[in-house]
Structures are given as C-alpha cells and as structure tokens.
C-alpha cells in the first residue's frame, strides 16, 4: 500500500508544515475550504533559467483523489509575469529528455483545487514509489516531496529528515 487517505495527507501535510517552520522555511498551507481535497502545501522560489534570467517557481503539493497520493503541481513565471508554457517548462527542468517521454513525466493538467491549467508531475507511479519507502517513512508527504521535488529543482534541506517530530 502506497495509498494515502485524505485525512492522512492532511495531517502529514500539517506535520510537514511544522517541521518547515521550525527550519525557518516559507512553506504555507493554503486552505480553500474544508472539503476534500481543497487544502494544499505551497512554496515558491526563484531559480535561474538557461539564459540566466530569474524565474519564480510556485510549487503546490495537492492531494489526488483519483490516485490517492500527493501530487506535485507547479508553475513558473518570468519577471514580467508571463507564465512558462509546457515546452518552456520542459526546457527549464528536463532539457535532456525527449518530448515523447516527457509528457509521461511532466505534463499540463487542471489543478484540482484551483481549476486552472498547471504543470504537474504525473501521479501514475507515485503509489508504487512511495510504497518502497513505507517502512522508514512515517510521513509520506515529506517522502514524496523529497523524492519528486529534485526533478523540478525543489530540494529539501537534509534537516527535514533529521527532524524529531518526523522520526
């Protein structure tokens, strides 16, 4: 079982938020309302694109009802506010991968809470992947972010893994 119930997602997301606050990080919990799955974790950071320009990437860790796993949604924009489209997002994060393979990994989907097109890492294998980490991990949201984040330049400090609340 790599599946995660909504209740567990919510409590683990809150636990993740606490750890991040202790570490002085700027993760936030966005709560649209109390319905499933309308609460998600949010984080933004600036990174440099291939031409050296800053882009802001906003990451949302959202619960997927159909896959019963956390899902990584994200969107990047340039300094003038324009969004990076799918091709530009591929180029930024996965310049080496072929387009035919990319859509299976990084694609555009409707955000389940905001109902807008967002970039997403495909959730079809998340349950399988999380399952392998079930034993050492009591917080699957944290495991998920630390496994999937690095593909899109979201690297958690090691301190997350050392947090007392978590082990």
């Amino acid at each position: 079982m790599g599946d995660l119930s909504w209740k567990d997602f919510l409590s683990q997301a809150k636990q993740f938020l606490e750890i991040s606050q202790q570490l002085g990080e700027s993760w936030m919990l966005v709560e649209k309302d109390s319905d499933e799955p309308n609460t998600f974790l949010k984080f933004s950071q600036k990174i440099k694109d291939n031409s050296g320009e800053f882009v802001n990437v906003e990451y949302h860790v959202v619960y997927s009802i159909s896959y019963q796993v956390p899902m990584m949604f994200f969107q990047a924009h340039r300094s003038d506010g324009s969004l990076l489209d799918l091709e530009a997002t591929w180029k930024l994060f996965m310049p080496e991968t072929k387009a035919n393979d990319l859509y299976q990994i990084l694609t555009q989907m409707d955000h389940p809470v905001l109902f807008r097109p967002f970039m997403a890492l495909h959730p079809c294998r998340t349950a399988e992947v999380l399952k392998q980490f079930e034993q050492p991990s009591s917080n699957q949201v944290l495991t998920f972010i630390s496994l999937y984040g690095p593909h899109i330049k979201l690297n958690l400090q090691n301190a997350y893994g050392l947090s007392k609340d978590y082990t």
Binding site: G81, S82, Q108
Partner: protein
C-alpha cells in the same frame, strides 16, 4: 579592492519582478472599479534579504491591499501605480517630470520626518502602465526615484559581518529587533565595541554617529549594496548635516537560507560635498529601470496565454490532441487539421454531430448551410440545439449551430448561412428566381472558400448541387446518408489533378486510385427528381435508429482526418477485396494502411448485425453529377445550366446519355445500391 584607496561606492539597481497575479488584479480593478478613471493608486512591493538573488522588487496581487503584508522574510516597499487609459497617454506622458514629481514626494517624506516613522518610504517606487485588456497586453515601466546627490566614497575594504570583532554580539543584538523593523534601523556599539543594541531609526542622535552602524535589509547578492541605500544615505545626510565629511558606517543585512547573517556587508563611506535636499527645484532624479535590452524604455508582456479563457481552452484542447501525437501517432499532422476549412451542407442530426466531431479533432473553420428552423422534435437528436431554441420559434439552424460551436470552443471560426439548396427537378417559379440566384451565389462562393465539403442533407436530390460543385472546384467531398438502421459514409472521387504514383497492385485486391473513385450518384441510373413527392409523412421524417446518425457522423469525420494524413490526401487509392474468389477475408488483411489505418472509398454498415463493409466503386462516365459532360456544361454555361436542370431532371439524363442506358436491358448493369435499401432520409 585595496584598503588604502578611496573608491566611489556603487549600487546594485533594482530589478522589477512581477507576479502574474499582479496583472490579474490590475485588470480586475480597472474593469470593476477604476473604469475610466486613471488616478494613481498606492501599491506595495516587497523585497527579501534572505538568500537574495538579484535585487528583486516584487509585486503580486497583494500589492493593492490597503495594508501591506509582505511575505515571510520580506520587507515592504511603498509604491504607486499610474495606470493610463490609452497607449498614447502612456507614451506621451513626460517621464522626466513624473520621476521628478515622485522624487519630490520622497524628499518631502524625508524632511517631514515621515521616514523616521515609516522607513519603508525610502524604498519608494512607482509603475507607469497601460493595460490593453482586450489583448491582455500590459505595457509597464518601473522607476525607483532617487535624488542625484554627490558621490559617496568608500573608505577601506568592504567587510563581512563575520570578519568583524565581536560579530556574535551584533547578531545577538539583532535578534531582539522585531522582524518588521529590520528594514532600516540603527545598530549601536559602545566605546569598547562590546555592547550592542539595535535601535529603531527614530532614536537617531546626530552626536552618536561614531557608535552607529546604519543597518538595512539588503537584497543585493553582490559586493555593492542595493539601490535603496542611496536614499538611506541621502535621508541621513539631510537629517544630520553634520555627517557631511564624516565617516559613516553602513551594515547591509543579508541572511542565507539557514538564517545566518555572516555574509552581511559593512561599508564605511564618506560624502564630502554638502547637498541641500530642501531645495528640490535644483535637484535631478534618477531611477527609471532599464528594459530587457538594457535600454531606457518600457516593457511589454502579453498575458493572453494565462488570462484569456479562450486561449486557455485552445491550449488545453491542443494539448489533448498533442498527447495523441506524443503517445500513439508521432507523425500525426495536427497542423493540416487546424487549417482545413469544412463546409457542411445540412445542420440537422448529421450536421450537428459532424460539427462536434470536427471540433474534437481540432478543426477551426466550420461553416454550415441549412434553411431550417429548430423544431420541437429536433433538440433531442440534433445536439447543438436546446428546447429554448424551438420555443423561440424563429431560431435558424445554420446560424444557431454556428453560434453554439463558438460557445463550445471560442477559438473556432464558424459561420451559418440560411439558404435553400436548389435541386434538379424542383422547378423554380418566377418569383423565387432572384432569391435562388442569390443563394446559388453564396453556395458557390462557400464551396470555393472551403477545403472539405460534407453532404449531410436529408434528401438525395439536395446532394446533387454540392456534389457537382465539389467536383467542379476540386474539393474533398465526404457524404453521409442514413437508412432506418443502416448508413453509408463515402468520399467522392477526386477531380484534383496532381501527378503522383498510383496505388500499388496487390494480389486479391482491387485498387482504385483516388481520382477514379465514384461519387454518390455514380451508381444511379436516374437523375434525382422529387424524392419526397409521393411519400407519406413517416417516410419524410427522420425514421432512423438514433445511434445511426452519430455513428455515420463519426465515420465521416474520421474518414476526412485519415485522408488528410495521407501524403496524397483525397487522391489516396482505395482497395477492396474482390468477392467470389473465396479469399476475400485473407485479402482484406493486406489492404495498405495510412497513418490511421485503411482509407476506404465507402463504409456501409448496419445496426441490425453490427457489421460494416467497405466497398470501393469506379467513377461512372455518365454520372449525372460528376461526369465530364456535366462538369463541362457547368463550366461553360454556369448558372444557366444549373437553372435548366432545376427545371427538369430529364435534362441531365439526356445530357449524360443515361436516357439511352435506361432503354437498354437493365440486367447488364449490376448496381448494388439496392442491397442495403438506402433511403436517403436522415432527418426531417
């Protein structure tokens, strides 16, 4: 940088960094609140000195809030937006004057002591903008006004906080200062440099300058301090004129990701010339941001992709189609689909279903021709209409369908024309002649303007004119007709002249090249007359199993798409297994496939046994719709020829020589059309 030489202190300029939500909110405010007013509006920006990169001044939707609430680890900057109503006003505005006006307000804040109360006024900025809300384009120019004061000289090397003696004491002192006061403040050190205190700017005492580090949150990542220190210095010198000619210490506070401030910088500076800020008339101001090209000028951003719902829909639809390409059919040509213009004769059950299928495939240009109004029985089968259309009583199918298609996909280019399709043997009275000629004109024009023509009308004879026009204009023609539980979908033989290889001959298969295939009328031995004439009502109305029209409509569109993917398009050959050889099933397996499978001439199917067959037939040299005599007569005589055929169908039979045929024993001609009892009705 050598310690014994005095260098001019330089500053890292601000870079504006705009969130899409800033534009979203601006558009909303403009539309719902400001409307035609272009009075300035207060906004707030924010910048961070934690793990800072660049020297970014950020604005997002919260900029317009009454009270600024910067995100965690960020500081607020006070700004103004001047959003102009037209691009002309945006361009014509005197930029130097605006900068000077803003700069004078900054000076006023300094001299009134307002800055002491709210130091964020030192990070004053403004945006000049024009929002083209129709095109979702935003023209904007940020400025960070600053008086042009005498240069500051750097004394000694730039130091890092961690290299100072007792740096731990500084850090401890800072921890006692509330986060919101950490933008500009004073760090006080006693004689022995052992006791440190962080004090707010309002505690400033001119005499203690030797004990002060003028500290500020520094968003710069470079050895230079951020631009905001310029205003800080100007303010301090204006507040304490005795500082002129004295060495003053500044501390640019910089945190890393782990909230350590070791990398904070200390600059010891001196300004030797006095500068009277109380005489702003004499002063010059600087601060317009350079654009992306490093030039003095505004920037423009097009936000259509994320703000225009039609564009969002278009991109999402395209993505769905692209997934098909990426996943299953890498060579799928979506471009040709989006560029092919489709003309639909008939906006009934078949017309609606075909149009929707076209939208699904990403066709953009759809035109419908129909003379009917939406009736009460229509909406349940004709999927572009609703009950309300029937209640309204006067909604024409062609125009209503065109409108619905745009409601479904706003980026579709659709049109509907209400008109009668003139038919052979349907005599046109004197009074209707002018109208018929008008309609003919429109129909001919529409055929010329489109690439693919769908015949989806409810009678056999109404298909004659479009068949002829399609052939005369070398268009792709797809025909769909329904029986009670059977359907026929076919492509007409092409008249397009293009050199190319014929189809490959394969054992057991008959191959007919695309230009040799028959049309709907090629298998007929009579000219179309009035097929509705002697029928009872139930024969004239739609008497088909409802699924038949959806199946036929889907096949019709899929057949067009498959043809468009073939290198020779509608000239692609059709194959069929010759019957009577006992090997037809085996042969059928050998039919060459295009990108999306085989390209049959026709698909005939029945619901009663859920079977399809895909026969192919030759062009008929005496066809009353597509044969050379007919096409030549039309070419030569134009409308005069058409009007003759409308007068009497017999004219066509004589022209093509079918009349002769009919006198012969019909046994010698084996037409297989009857096999399926194809009634041509598909709708009322």
């Amino acid at each position: 940088m050598s310690a014994d030489k005095e260098m001019i202190l330089q500053f890292a300029p601000w870079e504006s960094f705009v969130s899409p939500t800033f534009w979203h909110k601006l558009a909303e405010l403009k539309l719902d609140h400001d409307r035609l007013s272009d009075s300035k509006r207060s906004i707030a920006g924010h910048y961070t000195n934690r793990n800072a990169s660049g020297c970014l001044m950020e604005v997002d939707y919260t900029a317009y809030n009454r009270t600024a609430q910067p995100p965690k680890f960020s500081h607020s900057a006070s700004g103004t937006i001047y959003n102009k109503n037209t691009i002309e006003e945006f361009k014509a505005l005197d930029k130097l004057q605006l900068l000077a006006d803003e700069g004078k307000e900054l000076l006023a804040n300094m001299s009134s002591g307002e800055v002491l109360r709210d130091p964020s006024l030192l990070t004053r900025f403004f945006v000049l903008s024009f929002a083209d809300l129709k095109c979702h384009s935003y023209y904007y120019w940020f400025a960070f006004p600053c008086p042009l004061t005498p240069t500051l000289k750097l004394q000694g090397a730039v130091q890092r906080l961690r290299d100072l003696p007792y740096s731990q004491n500084y850090i401890e002192a800072l921890k006692l200062l509330p986060a919101e006061s950490q933008n500009f403040f004073i760090l006080y050190a006693n004689e022995e440099h052992k006791v440190f205190e962080a004090r707010s700017l309002s505690c400033l005492n001119e005499k203690d300058v030797e004990h002060y580090y003028f500290a500020f949150a520094d968003p710069s990542e470079y050895d230079h301090p951020a631009w905001l220190m310029r205003n800080y210095v100007a303010f301090l010198l204006q507040q304490c004129p005795s500082f002129v000619g004295k060495s003053v210490k500044f501390l640019g506070l910089r945190y890393n990701q782990q909230m350590q401030m070791d990398d904070s910088r200390v600059w010891q500076v001196i300004q030797t010339e006095a500068c009277d800020l109380s005489q702003p008339g004499e002063l010059k101001f600087v601060g317009w941001e350079l654009n992306k090209n490093g030039k003095m000028g505004p920037r423009m951003v097009c936000m259509r992709d994320s703000m225009d719902p039609a564009k969002l829909a278009e991109n999402s639809v395209n993505l769905n189609l692209k997934l098909m390409k990426w996943r299953l059919v890498p060579d799928l040509n979506l471009e040709v689909i989006s560029q092919t213009k489709c003309l639909l004769f008939g906006a009934g059950t078949l017309g609606c279903a075909v149009a929707r299928n076209l939208l699904s495939w990403g066709f953009k240009h759809i035109t419908l021709l129909d003379n009917g109004k939406v009736g009460f029985s229509n909406p349940v089968r004709q999927n572009l209409y609703t009950h309300a259309d029937a209640v309204a009583g006067n909604r024409m199918k062609a125009t209503t369908a065109a409108q619905r298609l745009r409601e479904i996909n706003p980026s579709a280019v659709t049109a509907g024309h209400v008109l009668e399709i003139p038919m052979p043997g349907h005599t046109i009275g004197e009074s209707l002649l002018a109208q018929t000629e008008d309609h003919l004109q429109v129909i001919q024009q529409q055929v010329q303007d489109h690439d693919a023509i769908f015949l989806l009308t409810d009678s056999r004879e109404s298909r004659w004119l479009p068949t002829l026009l399609g052939a005369a204009n070398q268009k792709i023609v797809i025909n769909a007709a329904l029986g009670f539980d059977s359907y026929l979908v076919m492509r007409h033989g092409s008249t397009r002249e293009e050199a190319g290889d014929g189809g490959q001959q394969i054992d057991g298969l008959k191959c007919i090249n695309g230009d040799q295939l028959g049309c709907y009328f090629c298998n007929d031995v009579t000219a179309p007359g009035n097929s509705l004439k002697d029928r009872t009502l139930d024969q004239q109305c739609t008497v088909t199993r409802p699924g038949v029209s959806n199946i036929a409509a889907s096949y019709a569109v899929e057949l067009l798409v498959a043809l468009l993917q073939h290198p020779r398009k509608e000239l692609a050959p059709a194959y069929y297994a010759q019957s009577g050889r006992g090997k037809s099933e085996e042969a059928a397996g050998k039919v060459p496939e295009g990108l999306l499978g085989i390209l049959p001439h026709s698909i005939r199917g029945m619901l009663c046994n859920y079977e399809n067959i895909v026969p192919a037939t030759q062009k008929f040299a005496q066809c009353i719709a597509c044969s050379a005599p007919v096409l030549n007569a039309y070419k030569k005589e134009g409308n005069a020829f058409l009007l003759k055929t409308f007068e009497t169908a017999k004219y066509l039979e004589d022209l093509t020589g079918i009349s002769e045929f009919k006198r012969l024993n019909s046994e010698i001609i084996d037409f297989d059309d009857d096999e399926f009892d194809m009634s041509e009705e598909d709708e009322d």
